[in-house]
C-alpha cells in the first residue's frame, strides 16, 4: 500500500518534470556554461574559449550594473506591494457588488488582455511630454502650464514605468484574491458577525487570513514573472535617458543582442535569476506561514 502511494505522486508529476527539463533546464545549462566564455553571437567559435570568472568579475565591479540591480529591486518592491494592495481593494469592491458581477469581473481583468509590448507603446504615447494624453489632460484642466517630462526625469520616469506596470498587473492580484474570496466558506464570517465583530474586525481576523495565501500565490507568480515588465520598459524608455531607468533586463537584452556579448549577458542573467529566487523563496515562506495560520495542512 505504502509503495503504491509513493509512486502515485511521481507519476502525476512526471509530465511537468519532463516538459520543464526540456524547455528550461537544458537551455539553462547551456547558458550557464556560456557565462564562463567570451561568447559573441557573431563569432560562434568564441563559445569554446573558457575564461573562468572574468565575466562575473567584470559585471560585479561595474557600478552601473549595481545601480540597475538596485533599481530593479526597488521597482519590484514598489510595484508588487502596490499591486497587492490595489488588487485586494479591487477584489473586495467587486465582490461586494450586487449586480453585474460578470461584467465587472471581466472589466477587472481587462488589462490582462493587453500584451506587454502594447502596454509599453500605449503608455509611452500617453506620457509623451509634448503631445501625450497625460500632459494634454493636465494642461487642459489647468493643473499645469509646463510640459512635464514624464519619461526624462529619473523619478518621474520610474513612476511612469511603475504606473504602466501596476496598471497591467494589478488584475492578476485582483482575480486571484477574488477567487479566494469566492472559495471562502461563509460560516466563519457569519459566526464572527453573530459574535458582535465590527465589519473591520471580521475583515481583519477572518477574511484577510483566509485570502492571504491567494495574495501570496499571486505575489509569487508575479515575482517569478516580473521579467515580463521588460517588454514594457524596453518600449517606454529602454533604460534611458542616460541610464536613469536602466533595469537588469534592459541591460541584459542590450548586452546580449545589440552588443552580441552573450557570455557577459548570461552572467548578468544569472544574477537576475538569483534575485528572482530570493523573492520567490521569501514569498514562498510567507505563503507557508499564511497557510498554517488558516490551518491548511502542508
Amino acid at each position: 500500500m505504502k509503495a503504491r502511494r509513493l509512486s502515485a505522486p511521481t507519476l502525476l508529476l512526471l509530465p511537468a518534470v519532463i516538459v520543464l527539463a526540456a524547455v528550461v533546464v537544458v537551455p539553462l545549462i547551456l547558458s550557464f556554461y556560456s557565462s564562463f566564455t567570451p561568447f559573441r553571437l557573431t563569432r560562434p567559435e568564441t563559445f569554446f574559449t573558457f575564461i573562468g570568472l572574468r565575466n562575473y568579475q567584470r559585471i560585479l565591479s561595474d557600478w552601473n550594473f549595481w545601480v540597475a540591480f538596485g533599481r530593479t529591486v526597488l521597482l519590484l518592491t514598489v510595484a508588487l506591494n502596490l499591486e497587492m494592495l490595489l488588487g485586494l481593494g479591487l477584489a473586495l469592491l467587486v465582490e461586494k457588488a450586487t449586480r453585474g458581477q460578470r461584467v465587472l469581473r471581466t472589466i477587472m481583468m481587462f488589462p490582462m488582455m493587453f500584451s506587454p509590448i502594447l502596454v509599453g507603446f500605449q503608455f509611452k504615447f500617453m506620457f509623451n511630454d509634448n503631445i501625450g494624453l497625460v500632459n494634454n489632460a493636465l494642461q487642459s484642466l489647468g493643473l499645469t502650464e509646463r510640459a512635464i517630462p514624464w519619461l526624462i526625469d529619473g523619478k518621474l520616469a520610474f513612476a511612469a514605468i511603475s504606473i504602466a506596470e501596476i496598471w497591467s498587473s494589478t488584475s492578476i492580484f485582483a482575480i486571484l484574491i477574488l477567487a479566494g474570496l469566492l472559495a471562502m466558506p461563509k460560516e466563519p464570517v457569519e459566526a464572527a458577525r453573530v459574535d458582535g465583530c465590527t465589519p473591520w474586525q471580521t475583515f481583519r481576523y477572518v477574511t484577510l487570513p483566509f485570502v492571504m495565501p491567494f495574495a501570496y500565490i499571486a505575489m509569487t507568480i508575479r515575482s517569478l514573472d516580473v521579467a515580463r515588465a521588460y517588454d514594457i520598459v524596453k518600449i517606454m524608455t529602454d533604460g534611458g535617458p542616460a541610464g536613469r531607468t536602466e533595469l537588469l533586463w534592459t541591460l541584459i537584452a542590450r548586452t546580449a543582442y545589440s552588443d552580441a556579448r552573450m557570455g557577459q549577458a548570461n552572467a548578468m542573467a544569472y544574477f537576475s535569476i538569483l534575485l528572482s529566487i530570493v523573492f520567490t523563496v521569501y514569498f514562498f515562506r510567507k505563503l507557508a506561514a499564511a497557510r498554517t495560520q488558516i490551518g491548511a495542512e502542508w
Binding site: F39, L41, T42, P44, F47, N128, D129, N130, I131, N135, Q139, E145, R146, A147, I148, P149, W150, L151, I152, A157, T237, D238, G240, P241, A242, G243, R254, Y257, S258, D259, A260, R261, M262
Partner: protein, 439 residues
C-alpha cells in the same frame, strides 16, 4: 565571364551556368526546380515589393520560400542567432548598410555574380556604402535614407515674425542653411510647452547617428585612420554642444532624449515643432491631412551645413544579400537583382521612398512634375543624397553606439559636461575595440 566562372566554381552548379547570365539582357535567367530560402524585412511599407516575387518565380521557374519576415531589429537578432548556432541554411537575406559590417563573411561578393553594367546603374555612393573590404555585400533597394530639413512654411511668411527676427538678429528670416542658424531660429520660434523650435532623436543609435553626422559636418572624425575613437575632439565638443544648448534653451521638447523616430514624426505632424531634420519616409505622412496638422504647410530643404562648411548626411540603405552557404548563388543573385531592378524600384519609389538607381531618380522626378510638393521633396532629397555618407564600417559600430549614447544623453541632460561625457564615451569605445582585437 571570368568573374562569373569563379562564382560558379564555388557553387558547383555547372548545369545552371550553361544558361547563366553573362549579359544583363539574360536576367533574370531560368532556374527551374530551384528553391530559394529567404529572410526578408517585414512591415507593411516594405511589403509591396514582395508581390513581385511571384513574377520572378514565373519568369525563372524557381520557387521562393520566405522563411521569415520580421521588423529590422528582430531580423538582426535572428541573423545573429543563426550565425551563433551555425544555422545559416538560407540564401537571400534583407540587409542594411548600418548593420552589414556586423555580419562578417556570411555574404558573398555580388560583383562576382552580376554583370558590371547592372551594378553601374546604381548611384555610385550607394554602391560604395554597400561595399565592405572591396566586397559588394548587398544590392540596395529603393529604401535609401538620408535626412533633409522639414519646416513649417507659414512661419517664414509671417510678417510679424520676420520683423521680430530681423530686429533681434539683424538677419532676414529664411529657412536655415547652417546648423548655427537652425539653432538660432529654433530658439526664436520656441514657446514651450505649446511650440518648439526643433527636436532630435535622443536615444540609441539614433542620437549617436545624429551626433556622428554633426561631428563630420563640424570637421571631426568618429574613428581616426587607425580605427581609434577620435570623437572627443574639439569638433566633437562643438557638435555635442549644439544638442546641449538647444536642450538648455528649451527650444526642444523636454522629452526629446527619449524620442525615437516615431515620436519625432508624430511631433512634427502635430504642428508643434518648427524645424525637423528627418527621413524621406515621412514626406507623404507630413503632407497628408489625415495624418498631419501641417499638411499643405510643409517645406523641405537640403540638410544644413556644419561649421566646417560640410553638410551632414548620415545615411543608410536597405538591401538584399546572398549568403556564402547558398547552393544556388546565381538564382539567389537573380532574385536580389529582380527586387532591386528598375521596375521594382519604380514600384517602391512611387510610394515615397528614395531610389538607389540613377535612372529611377530621373523617372521619379519626371513623375512628380505635376505635384509641386513632391517635386520640392525630391529635389531636396536629391541634393541631400549628394552629401550622404554611411556609418564607419566597423563590426563594432552598434556596440560602440550603445556605449556612447548614454554619455551623450548625460551631457544633454546636464549630468556631465560635453568634454567629460565624450572622454568617458571614448574610453568605453576604446575598450570595446580592444576587446574585439581591433586596437
Amino acid at each position: 565571364m571570368n568573374r562569373l566562372l569563379s562564382g560558379v566554381a564555388a557553387g558547383a552548379l555547372l548545369l545552371v551556368s550553361g544558361v547563366g547570365m553573362a549579359q544583363a539582357a539574360d536576367l533574370p535567367g531560368k532556374f527551374p526546380g530551384v528553391t530559394i530560402d529567404a529572410k526578408l524585412i517585414g512591415g507593411q511599407q516594405y511589403e509591396k515589393l514582395y508581390e513581385r516575387i511571384g513574377e520572378w518565380e514565373k519568369a525563372t521557374g524557381a520557387k521562393v520560400n520566405v522563411l521569415s519576415k520580421k521588423n529590422h531589429f528582430d531580423l538582426d537578432k535572428e541573423i545573429k542567432s543563426d550565425i551563433a548556432s551555425n544555422s545559416i541554411t538560407w540564401c537571400v537575406g534583407s540587409n542594411h548598410t548600418s548593420f552589414a559590417p556586423q555580419y562578417p563573411g556570411i555574404y558573398v561578393d555580388l560583383n562576382t555574380l552580376l554583370p558590371k553594367e547592372e551594378i553601374d546603374a546604381f548611384v555610385p555612393a550607394n554602391i560604395a556604402a554597400a561595399t565592405l573590404d572591396g566586397k559588394l555585400v548587398m544590392l540596395p533597394r529603393a529604401q535609401f535614407d538620408v535626412s533633409a530639413l522639414y519646416y513649417q512654411k507659414s512661419l517664414y511668411q509671417d510678417e510679424a515674425k520676420k520683423k521680430a527676427y530681423k530686429e533681434k538678429y539683424g538677419e532676414e528670416l529664411a529657412p536655415p542653411d547652417t546648423f548655427d542658424e537652425m539653432a538660432q531660429q529654433a530658439e526664436f520660434f520656441a514657446n514651450p510647452p505649446d511650440f518648439y523650435g526643433t527636436q532630435f532623436a535622443g536615444k540609441e543609435e539614433a542620437i549617436n547617428g545624429r551626433f556622428y553626422e554633426m561631428l563630420v559636418a563640424d570637421g571631426g572624425e568618429y574613428l581616426d585612420k587607425d580605427g581609434k575613437p577620435a570623437f572627443n575632439s574639439e569638433a566633437g565638443v562643438q557638435a555635442l554642444d549644439w544638442f546641449v544648448n538647444l536642450y538648455k534653451a528649451k527650444a526642444v521638447p523636454a522629452g526629446t532624449t527619449n524620442y525615437l523616430w516615431d515620436d519625432l514624426g508624430q511631433g512634427f505632424a502635430s504642428g508643434t515643432v518648427a524645424l525637423n531634420l528627418d527621413w524621406p519616409g515621412w514626406a507623404g505622412f507630413f503632407n497628408d491631412p489625415k495624418s498631419s496638422k501641417v499638411a499643405g504647410n510643409v517645406g523641405v530643404k537640403v540638410q544644413p551645413k556644419g561649421s566646417s562648411g560640410k553638410r551632414s548626411g548620415w545615411s543608410g540603405a536597405h538591401g538584399f544579400s546572398v549568403t556564402e552557404n547558398c547552393a544556388n548563388k546565381e538564382a539567389a543573385a537573380s532574385l536580389v537583382w529582380w527586387l532591386t531592378n528598375e521596375d521594382s524600384q519604380k514600384l517602391e519609389a512611387a510610394a515615397g521612398p528614395l531610389p538607389t538607381r540613377t535612372a529611377v531618380w530621373e523617372w521619379d522626378i519626371e513623375q512628380a512634375k505635376s505635384d509641386p510638393y513632391k517635386t520640392e521633396v525630391l529635389q531636396a532629397f536629391q541634393e541631400a543624397a549628394k552629401n550622404a555618407f554611411p556609418v564607419p564600417q566597423t563590426a563594432e559600430w552598434i556596440e560602440i553606439s550603445n556605449a556612447v549614447y548614454p554619455e551623450l544623453q548625460a551631457a544633454i541632460l546636464g549630468d556631465k559636461t560635453s568634454k567629460q561625457a565624450l572622454d568617458d564615451a571614448a574610453a568605453k569605445a576604446t575598450q570595446i575595440l580592444e576587446d574585439a582585437g581591433k586596437l
